[in-house]
Symmetry: C2
Subunit: 317 residues, 2 copies
């Protein structure tokens, strides 16, 4: 059975995270508009706590727990932004967050999780090792698993970015979000179509990790085999829950090349003067890949995050 | 005779540039506050048009011209942000901007000026050649010189950033701005002390280009001989006008090392997720150089710009 969140769940999530997560700004940039041929409204989740929208979902999930549940702590296996987000949300509530990370995870990411107070358990860099390690922690501590996207509370939390965006700019014609596991896209689509049934919800996906595009085209989940993209937040594949939501609400998935991602990322850094990660640039690249006709439209776009290793930028060889 | 602008001039400048320059956002960042030990309010002139506060002054100067004056066009010798700002302001008013640049100016800067419609005249990389070339253009076209900082209209325009900052956050205790030629600092200090006589105005300057600190200490202008700093917007020395204003209004000039500048720049990129140029990082570095006691204070800081060559970042060797 799938528990699919609704606009009301997104609204409740917004109340729950109010004052805990940032209400991020919406930015515009004349040069981006000129290149895209439409009016672009960038919802800056790169300016969210921990530098990514992930904090919205994690915060909603952590604060949805009863006191009895919360006392047991939370756990996830992730080396990315979700791990940092869960660690911070748990610390804010005063509970433990166990983070299972592969021992190959970059030092920068391990430090970030530890910096937010997460208790790291290293494992082998295989899915099986991650899951076994997590299961052991759950058995030992009773911690509650907070999956990064296969979780209705997470999805409802991610939807709050779009709730805010459409509150500020109700006359948007289109909203674009990147898709990896589909948590952000699901939340975005639930909030957007719930608030405004006429709105078009479009996803952006790297060609090198295009499981969502292939899954939607074939009507069943086709996980990525060995996805490869610089947009490392989008390597994961859809799950049952996100597939159902996306199938119901999303008009189109636009795939973009690696070159286009790097180009869009640099363009935003240079012209909008904000730092976005490659996964956020995927959405921007979709604006001008020539696969969409957005001329004259008002287009919201979720810039999902800004976590980048500044010592290794993709335009430097 | 020195024509010193007042708070009223800043107010008139604000009316003049309204709808032409951006009203930039003010950002906060918990990690910066924690490191600085005070509450920091960053006025984001890196998000201003042309990526720098310079557009405020240039816009005010260009739109202050009578129609007869404007018809003659404007001219400056500059290879930095002022050149771009003047070019854009002139284009907006539909007049010519002549920009004298040394032939050694980076391609990136030449392209930027040309992109805003500026008419570039290259000269030798000496002050004499710049001035001779500019004089020839003035003789030929009648163009009006808009100096980057030795100009009351420019100073009044730069002050509008602080007018906005203190309108949004009237309870600031301190405002910090970087100092090069002193246009931004002069405008900042006129607006700040005019609006709130009790406010402390503090300047930040690279140790490698510390003419303002030495000039203030000795009571007379001591120009930099061969200044050297990564903060290339702050290489210029004070002029009579800015020296007088700064001497009257600025409490202290804090000098910061090159290492501190690079460290602060990277810290802001990593934690606030916005792109600032080294000159803007000078002000941030001053927050935690240990030369100021700002504990518990509410501190406004002018992030002067965000123009950086992304292919050459200072933390990469």
């Amino acid at each position: 059975m799938l528990i699919i969140p609704t606009l009301d769940d997104v609204r409740r999530a917004a109340e729950r995270i109010h004052g805990r997560a940032h209400r991020t700004p919406v930015m515009t940039c004349a040069t981006i508009d000129a290149r895209a041929g439409c009016r672009v409204f960038m919802k800056c989740e790169n300016l969210q706590k921990v530098g990514a929208f992930k904090f919205r979902g994690a915060c909603n999930a952590v604060y949805s727990l009863s006191d009895d549940e919360a006392r047991r702590g939370v756990v996830c296996h992730s080396s990315g932004n979700h791990a940092q987000a869960l660690a911070l949300a748990a610390r804010m509530r005063g509970i433990e967050a166990h983070i299972v990370m592969p021992r190959t995870a970059p030092r920068l990411e391990q430090d970030a999780v530890a910096g937010y107070g997460g208790k790291i358990t290293l494992c082998e860099p295989t899915l099986q090792s991650r899951e076994t390690t997590q299961a052991e922690i759950i058995k030992r501590t009773g911690a509650i698993e907070i999956h990064p996207f296969n979780n209705p509370r997470i999805i409802a939390g991610q939807g709050t970015a779009t709730l805010e965006l459409l509150t500020d700019y109700p006359d948007l014609d289109v909203v674009i979000a990147p898709v990896g596991g589909g948590g952000l896209l699901s939340g975005t689509s639930i909030a957007a179509t719930g608030l405004k049934p006429s709105i078009r919800v479009i996803a952006a996906e790297p060609s090198g990790a295009d499981d969502a595009a292939r899954s939607l085209a074939s009507g069943r989940i086709i996980p990525s085999q060995s996805p490869k993209t610089i947009a490392d937040g989008l390597l994961t594949s859809l799950c049952d829950l996100t597939f159902e939501v996306i199938r119901a609400n999303v008009e189109q998935i636009v795939t973009v090349s690696e070159e286009a991602i790097v180009d869009a990322m640099r363009f935003v850094w240079e012209r909008a003067k904000i730092i976005i990660e490659p996964s956020a640039a995927v959405g921007v690249a979709a604006l001008w890949e020539g696969k969409l006709d957005l001329r004259g439209q008002r287009v919201g776009i979720i810039l999902c995050g800004g976590n980048v290793d500044l010592a290794k930028l993709p335009w430097q060889t």
